[in-house]
Structure formats: structure tokens, C-alpha cells
């Protein structure tokens, strides 16, 4: 085949990939929902975390501070920001301290103020009380508040509406200046914004953060106001973007490195293009398969998956290094195939174990990697030979490679005893190094800068925002019993606050009392004649018109006879956000949440809670236990995978000695990487684990190819050439990742880079046969 024709075919392949990409892209719904990537929850806390909350009520909260202008401007901007954001569907609640006025209750529900307010629990609507209230109202009419109060008076001479609005303010709300929340110094206007999207939903949080930024840009135009935005969602967006930026920068550098290395190694600008095609095919076909087999592709599947299929970059390199004049590319591919196929098949068999893990995310990973690896291998075997230059320079003729090889030949060879000794030493270091072995806190992988954390703590403290880690829950079969149970908790919560164990709390029952409580209040309300009589006595000889409060009498009568207010009656009112968010109704049971702020003594709170049938959930602990459970599944899958992999290699090589020689470098490398990481104090996480799997896959290939090379000098040279190019590209790619500032990328990079070095050296020391000497098989 002529060179232009080969190039045309390569471009055709590229075009086919682009078409595939356009087909796959719309089907690819990247989901950030961590729940899909986690094993099924078991404990109550895990269930709540996964099924109902995502994370705590605090995790949906974004905290906003506006500073840099005078207080009046900031207050006006706080108001405009609230008005702007409350109309958007992404936000459940936008609070800036502007009082929930009478407008919080729609007119048809206003009579319910007498059932919702606790003030009449200790006070009856008798003549004395009414007279005192009316005297105060006269003064109100003469005060600057007259305009505010006069419209309410006819129906509400005791100003129950205002008392209720006051009671609904957060318990330890910040001070109000110009009608909105400000910090203690009075320099920064504060807002608390609750999103509909869960804290772990990066797309939803991104949309929310974008809308806030856009609204702020609009309302602050022409002023010097600065906005700071903190909270779990804002952090996850910022860190996600930073990770994406850094990963894409490293990705670009990596591509350059890959292109340059292949170009130098094969003195052909086509090598990088051809070398990239199997990897690109693997990624696209793998994604396509996952998109077909599953509803949505998890973001972590893609991240882990692309890490794992990094090994396929090596396949074309082996073909390039073994191709030489006089041998058809097809023959080269055929000659390499048994070795390549052994590596691919055993790795695929190993990954198949993820299918039985019972975790959706891991199953996706299995499909992605198995399909990807198989695609790349088949492409290298059956498509690539048609495209490569049939008569390149033979790698075996390279002078420097020959010298390199001479030198390597003098390296000592590691025998069984030494291998075993190193393995034991590494295992001991890995097991005994101080510090904990596993890192369960996923948050530590994507750390928030300390300055941002401090800012968040400051805003959280100023706003009295709920704790992100702990939440109290009351589980009951229905709404009414959940509200009643919450009400029973109220005295203890007040006591805890008085004792300083918490600085505040919030729960649905604060806004909507149980039906029983409402009925008790109804029973205490006077009937129409009694109220009329009391009012007449109170108004006798007073300044008010005799019919001034007829609306009031009617409202109380309505309240006395109305059916109790239920959560569903609140639909569409500003109150429903507060009530629905704290009262989760799911499949046959109701969970009432009590958000806590300023937690000092979780143990004391847990004790008080359990004595009232409530439970203090530690969501951090729950998510960590889920991570641990997840890791356990991965480890079991890996144990099974290593057995299957050994069996597959055994089946291919059919000699216990060769099997041992091929498997020893990767097993020993794994132990060495573990020992090295542990020795420098690294706590291992899932990303290390996945990277170890990739490193083992690379090591298996190196060993298989060295084993395949046998004792023929030229063949050994070509294999050495291929493995040097493979390991150099991989090493450079992952060394760049290891230098990243982001722990996730660093974990992957350092593990794989170490793995490449260990596997390369150990494969040379253990597998390579001495040249021309008798085969070592004996």
C-alpha cells in the first residue's frame, strides 16, 4: 500500500472516530451524583445520606457576603440580589434578613396566625389583654411605624402577624441594618441561599453559582461592592473548575510529550497520529458501550476509566518497535498478538470482576475498560497494520540501543530468594509505617484553600448557618407524628441552647405546629360572642371607632373553626420552602430534620436526642463508612481479579516458572509502591487503588513482552525499544500529574509513575532472558 493511501486510511479512521464522537456525545449524560458510584446504603445514617439528603441541610447552603460599599448601598444590593434570585428555579430559599412580613402568609391562610403563634398559649384574648394591646396600638398609630401597622390593625389589633414573622426569624440571626442582615462590624451584608441541587451535584451547584455571579454582576454595576461566596457547593464548583483547568493543562502537556516522544522514537511524524488512534478508539467505544448499557455515565467512571485504559497507549508502540523492512506489518502484528492478547485478555478478565461488585459505578467502569481495552487491542491487530510504514528503521539497528542493552545485560538478575526478601520487606514497611493506611475522607482529596475555609467559617458563624456535618433526625410513620415528636424535642433544644451545646436550631415544627397543638390552640380561642364582649369592654370610651375591629372578630372565629393547617396547604407560599426542606416524606415514612448550628458538644446532643426518640447523625462518618465499604468491594473484586489474572496467564503460558516470572515484577512493584507511599506518610485512597491497578496492568505487559522476546538479541532489542518508549511516555505523562497541586491528580500520577519505574526495572531484572544463553526455563 502506498504511503498516501495509508495516510488517507488513517484520516478516514480519524473521521470515523469523530462521527462516533458526535453519536456518543448526546447520549452521554455525565452525572455527578455520587450515589450511583457508592454501594447500597445500610445504616440509617447512610440511608439518610444517600436516599434523602445527599448531604446535610447545610450542604445546600451557599453563604454570601457583600462588602466594599457603604451600608445603605450594600443593603439595597442585598435586597435586589434576593429579589433577583428568589424568582429563579435553582433556589429554594434566599434569605437576607428582610423580615418575613405578613406577605409570607397568603390572605386565605391569615386567620391561621392564631394557631401557628405560640403567644396565645400563655395569654387569652380577654378584655384586659385587649385593652392593653389597644392602648399600645394608639401609640403605634402616632409613631413612625404607623404606616407599617395601620393596614394590619383592623384584622389584627394584637399584631399576631408581626409576632409570628418575628418568631420565624432564625434564632441567632445576625444584626439587621437597613432591614437586612449584616455582620457584627456592620461592614458586610449577609445572605444565606439554599439551592435545590444537592451539594454533591456539581452541575446543579455550578448553575446556582453562575446565576448568583450573574445577578451580582448586574446589581453591583458601577459600585465598589465585592461579593464573597462560600459553602460546600461553591467550593465544589471552584475546586471542580480548578481540577478541570489543571487536568486539561496537564492533558495538553501530556499530548505534546506523547507526540514528541513518538516522533523522536520513530523518526516519523505519523507515529503519534497512528499511536493515538487505538487509544482514542478505546475511549470512544468504551464510552459508547457505557452510554448504551447504563442510564447516565458517572463522572468518576470517566476519570477512573481513562486512567485505566492508559495502558492501551502501549499497544501500537509494540507494533511500531517490532516493525522492520522485510516483514509485512500484518506478520509483525500476528507475531505480537499472542503476547498482546494474553495481556489484554487477562486484564479484561480482571476488570470483569467489577461487574459482580454490585455497585453501579464500578460496573460502568468494568464495561468501559473491558470494551476499551478490547477495542484498542483489536484495532492494533487488525487495523493498524494497514496504516503503518512497512519498512521503517529497525529498532534493533540502533547503536545507542545496542549500547544500552549491553549495559543492561550486565545487571544482576533477581532470583526467587531476593524477590521474596524484597517483597517481605516492602510488605512490612507498607503494613507498619505510622499513620493510617486508608484515607476515607473524600473531601481531603479536593481540599478547600484554608483562606476560603476560614471565610466560610466566619460567614457561617455570623449567619448562624446550620452545621454541615451533624443533623438531628426524627423518623415517624406520618407527618403528624413527626411534627409531634419534633415538638416534644423543643424544650430539650432550648435547654441545649441555654447550656451552650448548640447556638441555634431550626425545624419544621417551628413554622408549622402539629395538628394536635393547633387544635389545643383552637380550644383556647374565645368564641364569637365572648370575643365581641371582651372587645367591647376593652374599647369602651377608647379612641377607636366601635366597628374598627370587626375583621379581627371574624378572623378569630375562622381560626377557631378551621381544619388544622397541614404542610400541603402551604404549597406555593414562602413558608413551604422552610417546611418541606425539613420534613422529608418518602415511601411510607417521614423524616423530620433538625438543623443545628454552632455545635459544641455532639455527645451531649446525641444523648438528649436519643432520650426523645431522635437521632444525631454524623454525616461525615456516614459518608466515610460508605467510602470504606466501597473500597472493601473494590478490594474483594481485586482479590478475585488477581486469581483470575493468574489463571489467564497460566492458561496462556502453560509453564509455572514463566507464569511466576511474568507475575513477579508486577506483584513486587505493587508492594514496593505501597511501601514507598506509606513510608512518606501518604494515606491511601480509591484513586491510589485504581492507579495501582493500572500500574499492575502496565507491569504485566512489560513482563509478557520481555518474556516473549526470548533470547534472540534482535528481538530483545526491539522489545527493549518498545518497552522503553512505552514506559517513558507513561512515566512522563504521569510524572506531570504527580506534580499537580490537586491531591486527586497527584495520587494518580505518583502511583502510576512509581509503578512504571518499578515495573520496568523489575521486568528487566526478573523476566529478561540472558542473551544467547540457554533459556532460563530449566
Amino acid at each position: 500500500m502506498s504511503a498516501p493511501r495509508r495516510l488517507a486510511l488513517a484520516l478516514l479512521w480519524l473521521v470515523a472516530l469523530l462521527i462516533l464522537a458526535t453519536l456518543v456525545a448526546p447520549r452521554l449524560q455525565l452525572s455527578g451524583d455520587l450515589r450511583k458510584f457508592m454501594p447500597a446504603p445500610q445504616t440509617a445514617a447512610q440511608k439518610l445520606l444517600i436516599d434523602e439528603l445527599g448531604e446535610g441541610p447545610g450542604s445546600r447552603l451557599l453563604l454570601v457576603g457583600l462588602a466594599g460599599s457603604d451600608a445603605e448601598t450594600l443593603a439595597a444590593q442585598s435586597q435586589s440580589l434576593r429579589e433577583r434570585l428568589s424568582t429563579l428555579p435553582s433556589f429554594k430559599l434566599v434569605a437576607n434578613g428582610a423580615a418575613l412580613g405578613p406577605e409570607a402568609i397568603p390572605p386565605n391562610l391569615r386567620p391561621y396566625r392564631y394557631l401557628l403563634s405560640s403567644r396565645l398559649d400563655t395569654q387569652t384574648l380577654d378584655a384586659n389583654y385587649l385593652r392593653a394591646e389597644l392602648d399600645a396600638r394608639v401609640q403605634d398609630l402616632g409613631s413612625p411605624a404607623a404606616a407599617l401597622i395601620e393596614p394590619l390593625l383592623a384584622a389584627d389589633p394584637t399584631l399576631e402577624t408581626l409576632a409570628l414573622a418575628e418568631a420565624w426569624q432564625p434564632a441567632n440571626a445576625p444584626q439587621r441594618l437597613h432591614g437586612v442582615w449584616f455582620d457584627k462590624a456592620g461592614r458586610e451584608a449577609l445572605l444565606a441561599i439554599e439551592t435545590h441541587a444537592a451539594g454533591f451535584d456539581p452541575k446543579g451547584q455550578q448553575a446556582a453559582v453562575d446565576s448568583i455571579n450573574a445577578a451580582f454582576a448586574d446589581i453591583s454595576r458601577g459600585t465598589t461592592t465585592r461579593m464573597s461566596l462560600t459553602g460546600p457547593g461553591a467550593f465544589s464548583v471552584e475546586i471542580g473548575n480548578r481540577t478541570a483547568r489543571e487536568a486539561s493543562m496537564i492533558g495538553t502537556l501530556d499530548s505534546l510529550v506523547f507526540v514528541l516522544l513518538l516522533w523522536v522514537a520513530y523518526r516519523s511524524w505519523k507515529a503519534p497520529l497512528l499511536g493515538g488512534l487505538p487509544l482514542a478508539s478505546a475511549g470512544l467505544v468504551g464510552l459508547g458501550a457505557v452510554a448504551l448499557a447504563f442510564d447516565g455515565v458517572h463522572g468518576i467512571t470517566v476519570a477512573f476509566g481513562f486512567t485505566l485504559i492508559g495502558v492501551v497507549q502501549d499497544y501500537p508502540i509494540h507494533l511500531f518497535s517490532h516493525q522492520r523492512a522485510g516483514v509485512s506489518p500484518w506478520a509483525s502484528a500476528r507475531a505480537l498478538w499472542p503476547t498482546l492478547a494474553t495481556g489484554v485478555a487477562s486484564t479484561c478478565i480482571a476488570y470483569l470482576t467489577f461487574l459482580v461488585s454490585g455497585v453501579d459505578g464500578l460496573q460502568q467502569l468494568a464495561v468501559f475498560t473491558v470494551v476499551g481495552l478490547a477495542t484498542a487491542a483489536l484495532a492494533t491487530r487488525f487495523l493498524l497494520p494497514a496504516l503503518i510504514d512497512p519498512a521503517p528503521r529497525d529498532a534493533a539497528d540502533s547503536v545507542w540501543l545496542g549500547r544500552c542493552w549491553e549495559r543492561l545485560a550486565r545487571w544482576p538478575r533477581l532470583r526467587g530468594g531476593a524477590v521474596l526478601a524484597i517483597a517481605l520487606l516492602a510488605a512490612a514497611v507498607a503494613a507498619l509505617a505510622p499513620g493510617s493506611f486508608w484515607q476515607n475522607d473524600l473531601g481531603r482529596l479536593t481540599p478547600v484553600p484554608p483562606a476560603a475555609l476560614a471565610r466560610d467559617a466566619q460567614l457561617r458563624n455570623e449567619l448562624g448557618a446550620p452545621d454541615v456535618r451533624y443533623v438531628l433526625v426524627v423518623q415517624q410513620p406520618d407527618v403528624e407524628s413527626a411534627l409531634r415528636a419534633s415538638e416534644r424535642l423543643l424544650p430539650s433544644l432550648q435547654q441545649l441552647r441555654a447550656d451552650g451545646a448548640i447556638s441555634g436550631y431550626d425545624l419544621a415544627a417551628r413554622y408549622l405546629p402539629s395538628a394536635v397543638t393547633q387544635q389545643a390552640r383552637q380550644a383556647r380561642l374565645p368564641d364569637r360572642p365572648a370575643l365581641r364582649a371582651a372587645l367591647d369592654t376593652a374599647m369602651a370610651d377608647g379612641p377607636f371607632q366601635s366597628d374598627a375591629f370587626d375583621e379581627f372578630v371574624a378572623d378569630v372565629e375562622r381560626a377557631k373553626n378551621a381544619p388544622a393547617l397541614l404542610p400541603r396547604d402551604l404549597a406555593g407560599t414562602p413558608l413551604s420552602a422552610s417546611v418541606d426542606g425539613m420534613l422529608l416524606q418518602r415511601g411510607g415514612h417521614v423524616t423530620a430534620l433538625v438543623a443545628l448550628s454552632g455545635l459544641k458538644d455532639p455527645a451531649a446532643i446525641a444523648r438528649v436526642a436519643s432520650s426523645h426518640g431522635a437521632q444525631l447523625l454524623d454525616l461525615k462518618q456516614a459518608s466515610e463508612s460508605l467510602v470504606a465499604q466501597y473500597r472493601q468491594r473494590v478490594l474483594w473484586a481485586l482479590a478475585l481479579a488477581s486469581v483470575l489474572l493468574t489463571a489467564a496467564v497460566w492458561f496462556a503460558l502453560r509453564s509455572p516458572r514463566r507464569v511466576l516470572r511474568v507475575l513477579a515484577p508486577m506483584a513486587l512493584s505493587t508492594l514496593l509502591i505501597l511501601a514507598l507511599l506509606r513510608a512518606v506518610g501518604v494515606e491511601l485512597n480509591l484513586f491510589h487503588l485504581v492507579s495501582l491497578i493500572l500500574a499492575a496492568g502496565l507491569g504485566l505487559d512489560y513482563a509478557l513482552f520481555f518474556d516473549h522476546a526470548g533470547d534472540d538479541r534482535a528481538e530483545q532489542l526491539r522489545t527493549l525499544h518498545a518497552v522503553i518508549v512505552c514506559s517513558l511516555t507513561t512515566l512522563l505523562v504521569f510524572a506531570l500529574l504527580a506534580a499537580s497541586s490537586i491531591p486527586v491528580l497527584r495520587a494518580i500520577g505518583s502511583t502510576v509513575a512509581l509503578g512504571v519505574v518499578c515495573n520496568f526495572v523489575l521486568a528487566l531484572l526478573i523476566v529478561r532472558a540472558p542473551v544467547g544463553g540457554a533459556s532460563d526455563v530449566a
Binding site: 423580615a99 401609640q139 398609630l141 404606616a147 390593625l153 441594618l177 437597613h178 379612641p543 371607632q545
Partner: protein
């Protein structure tokens, strides 16, 4: 006084004509300052309008205090966008001025008035002056839409450098609320009839 007014009226469009700048310059008072007031508030809930007397005190540039002495004792402090109402034997109550458009900026306005800060007033109101130096009216119409939805106008009445009455008209057909200040408040002692008080406010009554 009547005698002195006649030539002024004759020369109204001459040197004696007033403009907002002249009025505001005249009524400016450095802090601390205070002035007696008489306020009349009507409400459809009340049999008769409420008549209050006391004094406005401006202890410092950021604060305005309204001390009611009769018929009851009450102190309202307007500061930083918030009103605090204190009554004997009760915990003080607070509310945001922004919730009452009629009051929003009231403290600021009053401060601007007493500082002679025309620019500050013109940010929120369109000003127009009428009359002579001996009997002038300064009309303030809100520019802000939220305020204009409820507040029609604030009219200031005065003589020379004396601000004598503030008349607030809300949107709708409620009667205007009048605050008589300084000399007018003193003159109002013993005056009960609404027309007489209105005349006092507008400076119609001459003694």
C-alpha cells in the same frame, strides 16, 4: 409682620424670590439640634385624629430622635436604617425603615434638611420652591418608584430660616399627616380645630 410682607410679595419675582438652595441653606442647623413639634395623625380607625407633642432631637449627624411627651411618653430613635421605639415598661421594638416607604430615607432626609444637603435630597426627590422668603413652600416629590407608589409628596412650609411644618401626603385619599415644628409647634398650643392647625402649618394664620 403683615406690613413687612406686603413689599415682599410685591417683589416676589425679584431679589426676594426663593429657590430650594436658599431655603435649605437657611434651615440648616448644626448638630446637636432640637426643635419642638406637634403632630396630628388621622386614621379611619380612630374617632378623632391623634395629636402628639414633643421634640425632635438630632444628637449627632447619624441619629434622629423623636421624643413624644404628650399624650404619652415614647422615644423613637432612627439610626442606620432602623427605627427603635421605646416605651416605658416595655422592651424596645425595632423595625426596618425600608419596610415603610414613607419613612424610608426619612431620617436621611431630615439629616439632609438639617445639613442643608441639597444634593442628598435631590437624589431621592424632585424639589420645587414657591413663595417668598417670608413664606415659602418646598415641595418634595419622590423619584424612587417604590416610594412613589405610596408617597405622593412631602411639603415643607417655612418662614425665613425657620422650617415650620412638614406635610406628608400618601397616595390615595387619606388626609395628609402634618408635623408642626419650631415656632408653629409653639403657636399650636391650645389650638385644636383641624382647619386652624392646617392654617398654622401653611403659614396662613397671622398673629
Amino acid at each position: 409682620m403683615l406690613a413687612s410682607m406686603t413689599p415682599c410679595a410685591a417683589a416676589a419675582d425679584g431679589a426676594d424670590a426663593v429657590d430650594a438652595a436658599w431655603i435649605l441653606k437657611g434651615i440648616a442647623r448644626p448638630v446637636p439640634a432640637s426643635t419642638p413639634f406637634v403632630e396630628v395623625r388621622a386614621s379611619k380607625l380612630l374617632k378623632a385624629p391623634l395629636r402628639l407633642s414633643g421634640q425632635y432631637v438630632r444628637p449627632d449627624a447619624d441619629t434622629l430622635v423623636r421624643e413624644v411627651r404628650a399624650p404619652y411618653v415614647e422615644t423613637t430613635t432612627l439610626r442606620a436604617g432602623e427605627a427603635t421605639i421605646a416605651r416605658a415598661g416595655q422592651a424596645p421594638r425595632k423595625f426596618a425603615l425600608s419596610r415603610v416607604p414613607e419613612l424610608a430615607g426619612f431620617q436621611g432626609n431630615f439629616a439632609s434638611l438639617l445639613d442643608g444637603d441639597r444634593a442628598g435630597l435631590e437624589r431621592h426627590y424632585t424639589l420645587s420652591a414657591q413663595g417668598s422668603r417670608q413664606r415659602w413652600t418646598l415641595m418634595m416629590v419622590p423619584k424612587d418608584a417604590a416610594q412613589a407608589a405610596r408617597l405622593q409628596s412631602i411639603a415643607l412650609y417655612g418662614r425665613g430660616s425657620e422650617l415650620r411644618c412638614i406635610e406628608t401626603r400618601t397616595v390615595g385619599n387619606a388626609p395628609p399627616q402634618r408635623t408642626l415644628l419650631a415656632g408653629a409647634a409653639t403657636d399650636a398650643a391650645g389650638v385644636e380645630a383641624a382647619p386652624a392647625l392646617e392654617a398654622l402649618c401653611h403659614g396662613d394664620a397671622t398673629r
